[in-house]
């Protein structure tokens, strides 16, 4: 009986009834109000920690606020930005940006593949005690980074352990952190040391989610180990882990702790020249703020870094989406 009645009321009327249903309306209003109450803390937090600072930072970036204009500062238009982007005044922006991008790509890709390689290596079912190795290898991730990086800084000193080992073999000490090549080498290595367990763990989790049937089917077809990796494991892992790589790009781009605590951005060419060979945008900005105390310029750098970070997120999201569809 009832299903026939459905035909009597057409969709339009039904919508109208729903729209004017006082009970439903009241429910919706009540829920929206409740949602607002539940969301107030988040909204306050985001306003205080993100919205106000961002707007304020943009405003300061157009002023000459700094050590010389501490109590009264004026709007100077785009002067800070012109100073950053000008090519003829030896602006450190472009060299620093170049290294930041290299650092971001090499850091992320190396960490990702190193983690993947180790996850696959320690997934060997014949290695009965593999869980022990895996738990041990998590230690670098479990250590608080802020302390672990300083540990490395100490070990890379001229009298540090790596030089002691070299000396044992009769090789002269190398001042690791005073050479452009070696300091860049070590920031990447230390970063890999700190981050590979994360990638290893997520890759390991992703490996377990690949159905065995795929490998069995490949076995029947007579596929070799490498072929199976290239055609099954690798694409499927990329597909699962792609979203995590996006966040990793954005994170490495702004990985202040590692650069600042390991090399302090150095080595630097000369005193008063505040960009060093390993300085990334964030650590360089920090140094302008602390050493030069040119707050307006710092804020302008902040705005640029901010825009670049969004840019990186957008680009990697799109390219990884493309990557996902390809496989």
């Amino acid at each position: 009986m009832t299903y026939k009645n459905e035909n009597i009321i057409d969709k339009k009327t039904l919508k109208l009834i729903m729209k004017n249903n006082i009970f439903l309306k009241r429910q919706q209003k009540k829920q929206a109000l409740l949602a607002l109450i539940f969301l107030i803390p988040v909204l306050v937090a985001l306003t205080v920690s993100t919205l106000i600072p961002s707007v304020y930072n943009i405003i300061i970036s157009f002023t000459n606020y700094g050590l010389n204009h501490y109590f009264e500062f004026d709007f100077i238009g785009f002067k800070n930005y012109i100073k950053i982007f000008s090519l003829n005044s030896n602006s450190p922006f472009f060299p620093v940006l170049g290294w930041t991008l290299v650092w971001m790509f090499v850091g992320t890709i190396l960490n990702y593949f190193l983690g993947m390689l180790l996850a696959i290596f320690f997934n060997n079912p014949n290695l009965k005690e593999r869980n022990i190795y895996r738990s041990l290898l998590i230690i670098p991730w479990a250590l608080p980074g802020v302390i672990a990086i300083q540990m490395w800084h100490g070990m890379l000193g001229t009298d540090g352990v790596f030089n002691q080992i070299l000396n044992l073999f009769g090789i002269h000490s190398v001042s690791w952190l005073n050479s452009v090549f070696w300091s860049r080498f070590w920031v990447i290595i230390v970063n890999a040391w700190l981050s590979f367990p994360y990638f290893m763990t997520i890759t390991y989790a992703a490996l377990q989610s690949i159905p065995d049937e795929l490998y069995e089917a490949a076995d029947i077809d007579g596929a070799g180990k490498f072929y199976k990796f290239r055609r099954i494991t690798f694409p499927l892992l990329n597909k699962t882990l792609a979203p995590l790589i996006i966040t990793q790009f954005a994170f490495q781009f702004n990985n202040f702790n590692l650069i600042y605590l390991l090399t302090n951005g150095g080595p630097r060419n000369s005193l008063g020249n505040y960009f060093g060979s390993t300085d990334i945008l964030v650590s360089y900005t920090f140094n302008i703020m602390r050493e030069l105390q040119q707050y307006g310029l710092t804020a302008a750098y902040g705005v640029i870094t901010f825009i670049l970070t969004i840019f990186i997120i957008v680009i990697s999201t799109f390219s990884i989406k493309g990557l996902k569809e390809e496989f």
Binding site: Q28, Q31, A32, A35, F38, L39, P41, V42, V44, A45, L46, S49, T50, P53, S54, Y56, N57, L118, N124, N126, L127, R130, Y133, L136, I138, I139, P140, A142, L143, P144, V146, I147, Q150, M151, H153, G154, M155, G157, V161, L168, W193, T201, A205, L241, P243, L244, I246, N254, F256, N257, L261, V282, T285, F286, M289, G302, V303, F306, T309, I313
Partner: protein, 276 residues
Amino acid sequence: MTVRKNKRIWPVRILAIMIVLIILFPFYYVLLTSFKAGSSFYTGSIFPTSFTLENYISLLKETSFMTWVKNSTILGIFASLIATTITMFGGFAFSRLRFPGKKYGILVLMILQMFPTSVAMVAYFKMLQLTGLLNTLTGLILLLGFGNAAFGTWIMRNYLNSIPKELDEAAFIDGASYWKTFWKILFPLMTPILATQFILTFIGVYNEYMFSVLLLFDPSKYPVGVGIKGFLSSNYSTNWTIFCASAILGSVPIMVIFLLLQKHITNGLTKGAVKS
């Protein structure tokens, strides 16, 4: 057959052990150095020669290490409490309630969670200066507690979405209000993610360096990470063993907590990211 397999696994096993040893060497070395007598910095021994607790004793007695630990604990606990509470309510609203603009809200959260807070350092400095919170732990607690709101809400929402809606709908039909449903039904189910969120924020705050060093000038207010840097920069060679002791004492508790909760932490992190 099994014998042949065993033989073939040995090279793999040796390689595995070597990888583990190489990767753990820095940690082992620092641990070892922390038990060495003060002057043995220059003797390049990789194996233990002497054992002394001297470094730990002088670290606890002669330096402000315990003050820094206290500061880190205060910062971590309060910032985590703020972050967990805020994101718990926010996550509930985004997962269970209907309100206008919810779709865009989720999108905004997703974008906001990737924003680097570090770029606005001048603004934070000025804001705390204006409110009189510069050089106070309170200012830093508010900053760090609020700073992670978007990411936390996002994680909470994803976790709540994995709890079947029928549970709270049943309670709602039985006449319980949303408020009651939240506390009686969902809150108990949320304990794992709440704990994860708390620990993650705590570790995040513990690892924070930039704002701590920028917004606190008073060495007696430093957290551990900032405080121990002094051992490395001043009188480097004589303080190296003390630094190692502080590094071990400062990192082992965090390490133990992390290793114990590692499964929850990875779950929370990957759920947040993969599910999109």
